[in-house]
């Protein structure tokens, strides 16, 4: 394909973004004086700041490209990732789990496991999280370089090293605060940068009604095609959607993945921390406008021989992820195309910054301090955080080069989350809500859950077992296998944790105060009007997502 040609104003916009994020890092450096500032952004953020950063940590460019491409492949069904696959979990985090995370004043999710269970469970999760985070960060970097080379003809090495060095510079200067600031900037760039793609696409097709009229029924429904896997584009029944995606994968990601939960933990008070994921849920509900609508438009245009719109092909295979950049090139004139590219760049870089800032916290507190230097001073920890940032970036770059020579690593990316997060959700759920769960129960349950998830993945990947054995359906896609594998990993962790807890020693109840439901005094909340409470917005959010599901039934 011919590269998208950038003019001077486009370059000016891209350069402005780079100068800006480096400038913000330098500006915030003078406010980053100790470990609390570096790792916890001073624990002073409003619900709006934490909420937008919470959402943006998940709104990477790979997600935007991938979900638009998935819509082309699977249709409207992809909206499940944004509605049933996100909103209930975000609300649950805000209402039920955040009080335990926030009130225990922990600095990371593994830190909670240490307090609730023991050191070995914490270190197991910290190592798994660290490896997962750097792997994902490296694969993201590889994907970014691939996109920039394909669509802009940019040099592979230059785009990887320049973006990685920029992220390393601003995170090293001011830690989590600069990561969150750049995530919020990314949020605005993505909305301003990609909103017009959907608007102009709808105009070209002839209106919203026309968009839905011109896609097959299987592509325009959420639930009415879910009884039989063969009836919907994704080949997943409602059972897979509800249990695998809506329950395990969604709750596993949104309530235990430190990358996102960290943003809520550093809010200024408990009410702001609880509001963080609930506020974010409203924006999450709106993201399908940026990805599902362009995906449907790309479907219509690619099936219209007169449109002149053709998706890229890689070795004869259609590259669905090329849809969004091709639509940007189709609709955006000089200036706007620079904004669209900057939005994608910001998504890649802020995603990498989020991964690295979560990694440096977990490494410093849950691995380095826990295992090697328990009496480390605040200055030493901050130094270690900066060193971990640079090391994390180098490992990401090395992973990106590895991915370049081993492209099928991309196939593993979706699966990585179900290896780590799905079983962890069972551990967290039992830990927070069942007082008799023991440290050994949690450790062996977590290990069994993670091990079984990896084993199931390999067994399907290398055809040791038939996919239908885990999906309970004769027709199943890789996505369906992903959903169901997460469910089984969660269930195995859940059952093993309970079984081992029956035969091993419990922790004294006085050590669990503030960590477990039933042993924790409800925090006294200053009187606020009902419309300012997290519960009020939680109800609104759930009503809105129910309405969306009914409307697109």
């Amino acid at each position: 394909m011919q590269s998208i040609q950038l003019a001077f104003p486009d370059w000016l916009i891209i350069a402005t973004y780079f100068i800006f994020v480096l400038g913000i890092g330098a500006y915030l450096k003078k406010y980053t004086k100790d470990e609390s500032d570096f790792f916890l952004a001073g624990r002073r953020n409003t619900a709006w700041v934490s909420g937008l950063a919470f959402l943006s940590a998940n709104l990477g460019a790979l997600e935007l490209l991938g979900m638009t491409g998935n819509t082309l492949k699977y249709g409207m069904y992809v909206a499940h990732f944004y509605w049933v696959g996100a909103i209930p979990a975000m609300v649950f985090l805000g209402i039920y789990m955040m009080p335990f995370y926030y009130s225990s004043k922990i600095k990371s999710v593994p830190g909670y496991l240490k307090l609730r269970f023991d050191e070995k469970t914490r270190v197991l999760n910290a190592i798994a999280f660290g490896v997962m985070t750097l792997l994902v960060s490296g694969i993201n970097l590889y994907a970014m370089a691939l996109v920039l080379r394909t669509f802009l003809g940019w040099n592979w090495d230059v785009s990887m090293w320049v973006s990685a060095a920029t992220v390393a510079a601003y995170i090293t200067m001011s830690g989590l605060l600069s990561a969150m600031f750049t995530e919020i900037i990314q949020f605005f760039l993505i909305w301003f940068g990609l909103f017009l793609v959907a608007v102009l696409g709808i105009l070209e097709v002839g209106g919203v009604q026309e968009v839905f009229a011109r896609v097959p029924t299987a592509y325009s429904a959420l639930w009415s095609t879910s009884a039989n896997a063969a009836d919907n584009g994704m080949l997943v029944t409602w059972g897979g959607v509800v249990l695998g995606l809506g329950f395990v994968l969604s709750f596993g990601y949104w309530t235990t993945d430190f990358l996102v939960v960290q943003r809520a933990m550093v809010a200024k008070d408990l009410r702001a921390a609880r509001q963080t994921p609930i506020l974010a849920s409203f924006f999450k509900m709106a993201v399908p406008f940026l990805v599902i609508v362009p995906g449907l438009i790309a479907y219509i245009l690619s099936h219209d021989p007169n449109s002149g719109f053709t998706l890229l092909q890689d070795g004869g295979v259609v590259n669905y992820d090329s849809a969004l950049p091709l639509l940007v090139a189709r609709y955006y004139p000089i200036g706007l195309v620079g904004l669209g590219i900057t939005a994608l760049l910001a998504g890649f870089m802020a995603g990498q910054a989020g991964n690295v800032s979560a990694f440096n916290t977990v490494w410093t507190y849950d691995i380095y301090q826990a295992l090697f230097k328990k009496d480390a001073s605040s200055e030493h920890l901050m130094w270690m955080g900066r060193a971990a940032t640079i090391a994390g970036i180098f490992i990401s770059v090395a992973t990106a080069y590895w991915a370049k020579s081993f492209p099928s690593i991309m196939d593993y990316m979706q699966a990585i989350f179900s290896w780590v997060n799905a079983p962890l959700f069972a551990t967290m759920l039992l830990g927070m809500f069942v007082r008799w769960i023991t440290p050994n129960g949690a450790f062996w349950g977590l290990l069994a859950g993670m091990g079984s998830s990896v084993a199931l993945f390999l067994a399907v990947k290398f055809d040791w077992i038939d996919k239908s054995l885990i999906t309970l359906s004769s027709v199943a896609s890789d996505m369906a296998a992903n959903f169901w594998r997460a469910w089984w990993a969660w269930l195995i962790c859940f059952v093993v944790t309970i079984a081992v807890s029956f035969v091993t020693a419990r922790k004294p109840e006085e050590e669990l105060v503030g960590l477990v439901k039933g042993l924790t005094k409800e925090a006294a909340v200053a009187h606020v009007p009902i419309y300012k409470t997290p519960e009020f917005y939680a109800v609104l959010s759930m009503l809105a997502v129910i309405a969306l599901n009914v409307y697109f039934w």
Binding site: T16, Y27, L203, A329, T342
Partner: protein, 73 residues
């Protein structure tokens, strides 16, 4: 919250500044293309999306910038 973080510019100030800067570049580019009748090959180029979207960004950026100029505790 630590005392040293007081009087920091809020994030909304930077959001405003960025939207204002980028919006101005897009708006001015759109006006240049319009007045000098430079042909663009993109779909709906005749609607001059860079003019009105650039203007929307300038207005949004201006609002963010104006109301968040002062550092906050």
């Amino acid at each position: 919250m630590s005392a040293k973080t007081v009087h920091m510019k809020p994030i909304w100030y930077f959001v405003g500044l960025l939207l204002l800067g980028m919006g101005s570049v897009i708006l001015l580019t759109g006006l240049y293309l319009f007045f000098f009748e430079v042909k663009s090959q993109t779909v709906f180029a005749e609607l001059h999306p860079n003019i009105w979207w650039g203007a929307v960004m300038v207005i949004a950026g201006g609002v963010f910038f104006f109301f968040n100029r002062k550092p906050r505790a």
